[in-house]
Amino acid sequence: MFGDYSLGDLGAIFAMQGFAGLILFSVYVLMALGLAIIFGQMGVINMAHGEFMILGAYMTYLCSTFFQSYLPALFPGYFFLAMVLAFCASGALGMLVELALIRHLYKRPLDTLLATWGLSLILQQAYRSIFGAREVGVELPTWLIGSVQVTESIEIPINGLFVMAVTTLITVGVALLIYRSRFGQQVRAVMANRPMAGAVGIDTEKVDRYTFGLGCGIAGVAGSAFTMIGSTGPTSGQLYIVDTFLIVVFGGAASLLGTIASAFSISQTQSTLEFFLSGSMAKVLTLLAVVGILMLRPQGLFTLKVRR
């Protein structure tokens, strides 16, 4: 298929394709990070993860309309405030959900799946009632639209770079929080041994609530960022859920590094296959490969071998 193209063309395309892979990687990490915390650290199967993302997207939509109507001068910068608000809204909702629902189900992980599926239906209908059944169009500030011209033929989408930056920031932030902070220490302690953590004076319920809230908040930021590249509608969250779970599971649920590695390998596979095959087959093959590998290596890519 490359016979007709000049070397320069091919080089440019490969460079851009590399970036496409990196952007997809960032998107996947952003999608999966919140879930990796909730599912990986807490063992809760949050089927409403997509809806928490969409809540973030709707917050961004509200922000954009608000700034357009009342503060048009500040419109170029609204996106940052929108992401903060998205984090707060999804995080707060997450904590509420933890309080009302999840905390009763820690011993029954499969039941969290059913309950959160119910929650996702309720949230979808709520979005539909509040924002209407149609997708909403989120106005972006002009500086986020378009692409950077690197060379004559290499162009990199700005929103892609922005997503990459957001992903990097959040990933580093989460890693620091989990592995370096006092809170992270408590989270890990609670996950490792709940009764013992309680016995040494950690308020395990509070840690659970904040952890769940953190995961949902990150989902909200992801949703906010995705308004740049995807649709915002009541059922848009459903589009992400299978991919997200596969990434977390494939990475070996308990490790953030695993999630990142898994997002990397899946995104690279998919983006390469998409380039050489047709889109639908690329998707099927990627999913099949992931499922196949999981069947052979159920513990995922990265896990510690321990005495059971």
């Binding site: 510690l304 071998k305 321990v306 005495r307 059971r308």
Partner: protein, 261 residues
């Protein structure tokens, strides 16, 4: 490990020789580089009661896990009646005649005592065997017999979760008995028991060891002294000492790491 110190064994004999019921040879397992069990060898005779002692983290439970196939060995061999166990699945090991009791009572809470014992009855272990399994007189009689032995004959129809801790331990022992294993492995059978239960358990063990070998992990020295034919002391994944309780008790190495503190 020096085979010469084992009474009743022949120096230089092939460890695979059928005189040993169980021959553990150079057994090693490592978890991410940490060697939980390191080059452990010991040999159990038919009808012998062997107790494994050692401080926490010595690798005692891991050795049992390795024998019954729960954990896979990194190196070494485990031969049971001349058959290599390290390659077999757990269920095949059980079917070969090795029974295992866990540290915390591991019974089926949702089933009755009767059903707990019935499941352990060694017949109809394949899928279709289980489908066509009939609760006939042989099964009933055997279950009643075992229930009597483990002091639970009045609780047969009770759901297992309502039993006391001691009763649960007995039930699990009963579940092993009904399998009629030649090698019985017990992980801390009297832990958490009241004094009365402990005496009853010792009595129970003395009853059931007839005609089989038993491998026991236990911390309770009084209890160990009561039942052990021989004792193996593990420390940091290695065999520290082995022999009669008397001998082990006076081994300076043992005193230093274990009995001393």
């Amino acid at each position: 490990m020096n085979a010469a110190i084992l009474p009743g064994s022949v120096i230089g004999a092939n460890p695979n020789a059928p005189e040993y019921l169980l021959a553990v040879d150079a057994l090693t397992v490592s978890f991410d580089g940490f060697k939980a069990v390191n080059d452990v060898s010991f040999y159990v005779d038919p009808n012998e009661i062997r107790v494994i002692i050692g401080p926490n983290g010595a690798g005692k439970t891991t050795v049992l896990d390795l024998i019954c196939g729960r954990t896979r060995a990194s190196a070494g061999s485990i031969k049971y009646k001349g058959q290599e166990l390290t390659k077999l699945t757990e269920s095949a090991i059980v079917q070969a005649g090795v029974g295992r009791k866990f540290q915390t009572p591991s019974i089926y809470d949702d089933l009755t005592v009767f059903e707990n014992l019935e499941i352990s009855f060694p017949r109809g272990r394949s899928v279709f065997g289980a489908l066509t399994f009939k609760r006939d007189a042989e099964v009933r009689d055997r279950i009643h017999e075992i229930a009597e032995t483990i002091f639970l004959k009045d609780q047969l129809l009770e759901r297992a979760e309502f039993l006391s801790h001691g009763q649960k331990q007995w039930l699990e022992i009963g579940m092993l008995l009904i399998q009629d294993p030649e090698l019985l492995m017990l992980d801390e059978p009297v832990a958490g028991m009241s004094v009365g239960e402990r005496i009853k358990t010792a009595e129970l063990l003395n009853q059931i060891i007839v005609g089989r070998s038993v491998l026991v992990i236990e911390h309770d020295m009084k209890f160990v002294e009561d039942i052990a034919h021989r004792v193996t002391v593990l420390h940091q994944g290695k065999v520290l000492s082995e022999g009669s309780m008397e001998r082990v008790k006076n081994d300076p190495k043992v005193i230093e790491v274990y009995l001393g503190h």
